[in-house]
C-alpha cells in the first residue's frame, strides 16, 4: 500500500534538496569531468609538443607558447630552429590529432546514441568506404577535384564520404525513425563502396596502390596549419550541434515510441545528429585517413569511467578522443623513427587492450 500521508514540512524540504541534488548531478558531473578532461588534454599537449624526432625541453615549449600569446613577452630558451619545429611541424600536427580524435570520439558517442547500439561507430553509414573510394579515385586516376586549399585526395575522400552517407540514408528511404533500416542501408552502401574501392585498387600500379593503402591506414604525417583551418570549422560547428542535442540522446534511450510519447521528434533528432556527426567524420577522415577504434571505444571508456548519460558522453568523448589520439600519435612519430607508423595501427594496438582491461574490470554495462 502506497502511503500518501506525508511527513512534516521540514523533513520533506530537505528531501527535496536531496532529490534536487541527485537530479542536478546530470549537469554538475560534466563540468567536473570536463575540467579533468581539459587538464589531461593540456598535459598530453605538452607531452606531444616536446617529444618527437627532435626532443624539445618542456619548459622551453611552455615559455615559447607563452611568448606567442599577445601581451606576454617571455624569453624562451628554444633556438630559432626549435621554435620553427614547434610551430611549423609539431603543433599543427598535434592540433590536427586532437581535432580528428575529438571528432571521432564525439561522433562515435552520437552514433551510439541515435542508433541505440553500443557497437555503432562513426564509420557505420559508409563514411569510411566512401572516403576510401574517393581517395583511390583521386590518387590513382589523377582526378583533380581539389579547390582552394583542398588537396585532391582529402577533397575526394570528403565527397566520397558524404555521398556514401547520403546514399545510405536514401536507400533506407529516409527512414530516420527506424535505426535498423538506416543501419542496413549503411551496410549495403559500405559493401558497394568497398567493392568499388577494391576494384579501383586492383587497377592501380603497385606504387600507387601502396600510396592509397598507407593513406587508408590513417596518419597525421602531412598535417600543417592549412588542414587545421579546413578541419577546425567542421569540428566546431558540427560538434556544437551534437552538444546541443545531447539531452535528446538521453531521451532516445527509452526508445523511439516512448520518446515520441514524451514529446520528442526522434526522426528530426536523428537526422540532425547523424548529419552533423557524419559531416564531422567525413572532414576528419579526409584529413587523416581511416583511424580505427577511436570512435567505437572512446565513448565506452567515458561510459565505464564516468556516466551512461549522453550529456556526459558527448562532450567528454570529444576530450578523451582528442587526448587519446594526440597521445598515441607521439608513438606513431617516435616508435620506429626516423620512419613512421600509421597512427590507426597504434590506436588499435593501444586501444584494444585498454578497452579489454576496462571491460574486464567488470562494469559490464553498456548502451
Amino acid at each position: 500500500m502506497v502511503s500518501l500521508d506525508h511527513t512534516s514540512a521540514t523533513s520533506s524540504s530537505s528531501v527535496a534538496d536531496e532529490v534536487d541534488l541527485a537530479a542536478e548531478q546530470a549537469f554538475r558531473l560534466p563540468l567536473r569531468a570536463v575540467f579533468v578532461g581539459l587538464l589531461v588534454l593540456a598535459l598530453v599537449g605538452l607531452f606531444s609538443a616536446s617529444n618527437g624526432a627532435a626532443g624539445l625541453p618542456v619548459m622551453g615549449v611552455v615559455t615559447s607558447l607563452l611568448d606567442h600569446l599577445p601581451l606576454i613577452g617571455v624569453d624562451s630558451a628554444l633556438s630559432d630552429r626549435q621554435v620553427a619545429i614547434l610551430f611549423q611541424i609539431r603543433l599543427p600536427r598535434m592540433v590536427i590529432g586532437m581535432l580528428v580524435g575529438g571528432a571521432l570520439g564525439m561522433a562515435g558517442g552520437a552514433y551510439q546514441g541515435v542508433f541505440r547500439n553500443p557497437l555503432a561507430d562513426p564509420y557505420l553509414l559508409g563514411v569510411s568506404a566512401g572516403a576510401g573510394f574517393g581517395a583511390v579515385l583521386a590518387l590513382g586516376f589523377g582526378l583533380d577535384i581539389g579547390w582552394g586549399p583542398f588537396d585532391p585526395v582529402p577533397a575526394a575522400a570528403f565527397v566520397g564520404s558524404v555521398v556514401a552517407v547520403a546514399a545510405s540514408a536514401t536507400i533506407a528511404r529516409g527512414s530516420w525513425s527506424s535505426p535498423a533500416t538506416l543501419l542496413l542501408g549503411g551496410v549495403a552502401m559500405a559493401a558497394l563502396f568497398s567493392a568499388a574501392q577494391t576494384y579501383a585498387l586492383q587497377r592501380l600500379s603497385e606504387t600507387r596502390s601502396r600510396e592509397v593503402l598507407s593513406w587508408l591506414f590513417g596518419n597525421l604525417s602531412t598535417s600543417g596549419w592549412d588542414q587545421v583551418w579546413i578541419l577546425g570549422p567542421y569540428v566546431v560547428v558540427c560538434g556544437t550541434v551534437l552538444i546541443l542535442h545531447r539531452r535528446h540522446l538521453d531521451v532516445l534511450r527509452v526508445g523511439d515510441d516512448e520518446a515520441r510519447a514524451l514529446g520528442l521528434n526522434p526522426a528530426r533528432t536523428r537526422l540532425l545528429v547523424i548529419g552533423a556527426a557524419s559531416l564531422m567524420t567525413a572532414a576528419a577522415v579526409s584529413v587523416s585517413g581511416l583511424i580505427a577504434f577511436v570512435g567505437l571505444v572512446v565513448p565506452h571508456i567515458v561510459r565505464l569511467l564516468v556516466s551512461n548519460s549522453y550529456r556526459v558522453i558527448v562532450p567528454l568523448s570529444a576530450l578523451v578522443g582528442a587526448a587519446f589520439l594526440a597521445f598515441v600519435d607521439v608513438g606513431a612519430r617516435t616508435l620506429i623513427a626516423p620512419s613512421e607508423l600509421p597512427v590507426g595501427v597504434i590506436t588499435a594496438f593501444v586501444g584494444a587492450p585498454f578497452f579489454a582491461f576496462v571491460l574486464w574490470r567488470g562494469h559490464g554495462s553498456t548502451a
Partner: protein, 274 residues
C-alpha cells in the same frame, strides 16, 4: 482501507493545466497495419476526471487505441481535445505496457525525461523542472530512489517510477497500457490505487487498458469493451460486465457475481462450458 489523501501536489508552476481541457473525443478512428485493420472506426468520448477502463481480449485493439491517442500510430478519423486540437505530449501522458528502463540511468534522470514536452527544442531542464520532479518523487514515496539505477528496480518500484515520469509531463490525461500485467496482486493494487488517488487529487482523466475484469470494474467509472477493433459496449461497469456479452467477446463462458457489492468476473464452473 484507511488512508489520508494528501492535498494536490503543490507544484511551483501552474498545475491548473489538469482538468481544464481533459475531455477527449475519438471519431471514426481507423487504424490499419498493411491490410490488417486493427481499429475499425472507434467512436469514444471521454469525460473529464473519469477513469475509463478499456477491456477486451488480446489483440482487440486496446493498445492501438491508446497509441493512437498519443500519436504513436497513424490513424484515420479524428482524435481531439475539447478545444478541437489534436492532443500532444503536454495533453496526454502514456505509461507503456513494457517501458524501456535504460541501464545506468538514475530514477531522477528518468523522471526528468517527462519534462521533455515542456522544454524548447534545445533547452535543458531548469530549476523549476527539477523541483517539479522532486515534488513528484516525494509524492510517490520515491525520494530514496532518486539516485538509483532504473534498470535495477523491482517490478513494483519500476512501475511507480514510470508513473512518476508520466506525472512529470503534467498532462491532464493519463493513458495506462496494462500497467500492472507484470506485477503481483499486492503491487497491482498499490499501483492502481496510487493512480486513482492521483486522479482525484490532481483532477486527472485516466484511460487504462486492463486485463483483469474484476479489477477493471473496481477502479473504472466506465468500461469500454473492445472486440476485433470495434467498441461493442460502453457504459457503467455494471452494464458492460454482463456474462453473455463477456462470454461472447472472450469466447469462453464467464460468470459475474456480486460479492460485498463488487462485481467479480469469473470463468464459469467447468461443467457449465458449452
Amino acid at each position: 482501507m484507511s488512508q489520508t489523501i494528501s492535498p494536490a501536489i503543490d507544484l511551483p508552476t501552474s498545475s491548473t493545466t489538469a482538468s481544464s481541457v481533459a475531455a477527449l473525443h475519438c471519431r471514426a478512428v481507423r487504424v490499419s497495419f498493411g491490410n490488417v485493420e486493427v481499429l475499425g472506426g472507434v467512436d469514444l468520448d471521454l469525460v473529464a476526471g473519469e477513469w475509463l477502463g478499456l477491456i477486451g481480449p488480446n489483440g482487440a485493439g486496446k493498445s492501438t487505441l491508446l497509441r493512437s491517442i498519443c500519436g504513436l500510430v497513424n490513424f484515420e478519423g479524428s482524435i481531439t481535445l475539447d478545444n478541437g486540437q489534436t492532443p500532444s505530449a503536454t495533453d496526454v501522458a502514456l505509461v507503456p505496457q513494457a517501458p524501456i528502463l535504460p541501464e545506468g540511468m538514475t530514477v531522477s534522470e528518468y523522471v526528468l525525461l517527462g519534462r521533455t514536452a515542456h522544454l524548447g527544442w534545445l533547452a535543458r531542464e531548469s530549476r523549476t523542472d527539477r523541483s517539479i520532479v522532486a515534488t513528484i518523487l516525494r509524492r510517490l514515496d520515491l525520494d530514496e530512489f532518486a539516485g538509483r539505477n532504473v534498470a535495477r528496480l523491482s517490478g513494483g518500484e519500476a512501475q511507480r517510477v514510470v508513473v512518476a515520469r508520466a506525472l512529470a509531463q503534467q498532462a491532464p490525461i493519463l493513458l495506462l497500457d496494462e500497467p500492472t500485467s507484470a506485477l503481483d496482486l499486492g503491487h497491482q493494487m498499490s499501483v492502481l490505487e496510487l493512480v486513482d488517488d492521483l486522479r482525484r487529487s490532481e483532477g486527472l482523466t485516466v484511460i487504462a487498458a486492463m486485463h483483469d475484469l474484476t479489477t477493471a470494474g473496481r477502479f473504472a467509472d466506465r468500461l469500454a469493451l473492445i472486440d476485433r477493433g470495434t467498441i461493442v459496449a460502453v457504459g457503467p461497469c455494471a452494464e458492460v460486465l454482463q456474462p453473455e456479452l463477456l462470454s461472447d467477446t472472450y469466447s469462453t463462458a464467464l460468470t459475474v457475481r456480486t460479492i460485498d457489492g463488487e462485481l467479480v468476473v469469473l470463468p464459469a464452473p467447468r461443467g457449465e462450458n458449452k
